[in-house]
Amino acid sequence: MQVKDVAKSFFENGKEFKVLDLVRFDLSERDFVCVVGPSGSGKSTLLRIIVGLEKPTAGEVLFEGEPIRADNPQVAMVFQSFALFPWLSVEQNVELGLEAKGTPLEERRKIARKFIDAVGLTGFEDAFPRELSGGMKQRVGIARALAIEPLLLCMDEPFSSLDPLTAQNLRDEILQLWTNPDLPPKAVLMVTHAIEEAVYMADRVIVLSSRPGRMIAELEIDLPRPRNRKEPEFYGWVDEIYSLIV
């Protein structure tokens, strides 16, 4: 997957507001990439462009050599607000993408169960989203994204509407799922404003400046896993990114 010189502007009253400018990077198999930046750096816009929900003003996003499309079943998305359908049960929510792909009913059910198990929600198949806690909702969101067996998983600040403890648990669980080679996806792209979170999870961190979002740096985090937040090397990375942004 290639992001080629993507730029995005909004127009308001004839005035141009540049949100993103000349962002370029590549993603390949087994990459776990985090995009960090201060608020207003256009991180979420970038992600929406990358998954094809919005069109860039300039540049293009190629996925396996072709321009990206929003309904590409190879790319799945996890939302900050969970974006679960309140009128569908957990299982129906997870089956959603499969149904759109045209998977037959029996198979759909089997796959959905498998991923509901994988995120630890066994027994909640028939619950409705409003009956779940925030952490459980995001688990459903993750199961829904994984169920379409995507090559690329995109996550838009997936932990920022959760309480710190739940968020940390879920981070570890995602990393655990990520290390399981039998499970999709092949690559993860996550947007976050929490620098620690990026250093904790990613192999590579892309740092954006604020308004318009320009790429300041692309850093390889070569810390061994599992990472320890208390180690000085960990803090070294966090401090370096901090100084880049401020």
Binding site: L53, A70, P73, M77, Q80, A83, F85, G102, P104, L105
Partner: protein, 567 residues
Amino acid sequence: MRAIVRGLRRWLRLVAVVLILAGIVTAIAFPQAAWNAIQLPLFAFFSTTRMVIAYLFALVFAIAYGHTAATNKRASAALLPLLDVLQSIPILGFFPAALIFFVATFHGHPIGIEFAVVFLIFTSMAWNMAFGVYESLTTIPADLEAAAASFGLRGWLRFRYLAFPAAIPKLVYNSILSWTNGWFFLVASEIFSAGGTEFQRPGLGAFIAVAGRNGDVPSIAIGIGVLAAVVLTLDIFVWRPLGAWSERFRMETAPGREIPRVPSPYERFRWLPRLPKVRKRIIARVQPAVERYHRLSMRFERAYSRHPKALREIRRVDLALFAIVFVVVVATGLVGLVQMFLRPLPPNASVLPSAAVLSFSRLLVAYAIALVWTIPVAAMLGESEKAARYLTPALELFASLPATALLPVIVGFALLIAPSVGAAGQLAAILIALFSMQWYLLFNLIAGVRSIPDDLKEAARSFGLRGRAYWKRLLLPAIAPSLLTGSITAWGAGWNALIVSEYIQYAHQFYEVPGLGSLLNHAVYPTPDNEMLLLTILTMIVVVLAMNKLLWRPLFRRASTRFRLEV
């Protein structure tokens, strides 16, 4: 629990036996009443059937119209203003024209009248439902929209999983309003004079109206009683469960707001025989077809999206056709209007302004009376659980009766207390307007009082706000938006009531007061005068639209920014 139910059942059986015996005795004593008793269930059935048919049409229309207006930006530029006008004009004024049209189309066959009645009820139901669909579709959270797009929900799947469920809460809420509205128009339209003839179809509305004309008090009472029973039964067994069920489709707003888990209509009817074998066979038969249809439509969608240019061309042609039809319709209307005004106006046209003023002031009086009693009552009911528990059912019973059905009762009452026949006519006209307006105010206000957050009420109490200060600083500002919503709907209903309230036949005598409504009646019966009819309707529309644009709209905008309770 079960013992209580069993006990209740025994009681019910006893009551049923007593009722049947009483029925037989009255049938022998009063044969006329017995005839009514046989007729009335049939009439109730006919009337309800008309309502159901009109409602189903309105439902399909609302979904199609709302969906188109929400998804097609260019079409919405024409669809929304049109809906706005349709919603605010008093439709009852158009009924004579529609009736004549349908009767002529079917060469005088009664089916034409049925079509006209169903059409009228449809027009009283459809617009607010369509607006409800439009509003819900344009307020779907952006993330949910994005999730649907990124998981590939398109076409039918998107409608089924995203658009339709998202529209359900507002659709059900507006359906309940529309249904109430529908009764008002049903009763008014089952018996109607137009073009020098009188048209009548068997139904509860016609029964009550005929009883009123003859001054047959027992029949009036029985007719209204049966109507109330039908309205309440449907309310309890259909609308209330549907309303509770629709909560399930509400987007989550404030956390902590408990939404009860209500059984769906399907679960509610669990006691019906389920016939598992038959069901399985049907499902086995239907399921492959459904899946095949899904896959086929998905293949189509995919094929479509591969040719965006052709798609855009088709859309452009579509839009052009729509625009042409729209322009032609509007142009013919305008030409007709200009032609009419170029000819010399009929001599009675000079009474139009004074008639408008008279009608308006009658509505104003009714509105004032409604305000005076509904605000304190709503405050009381909204604040006190206990009062609400005992009073709400009684109020709902009263409100369930359309003002058109109460017409004979109101006239009879006015004749009793008014000093002269002329005064009785005035009083009756105002009372009918009051009865069609007040409930909209009351129930909107109650909802407004209920929606004041407890925090605010407690804060007001803890700072010692009491009495007038409490009203001035908290209650009145907090209910301002719902007061306005209620007022707008109430006035809409009032204008429609005008048409039936100014020219009434009761106990073989006519009671008439000068105004737009009576002008309208004179223009259709007994001497049809199309020009006058059109001018009267136009005057009414101009007044209503002027009021909406110059009074309600600006007030509403101010109220919704200044007095909104942010969550």
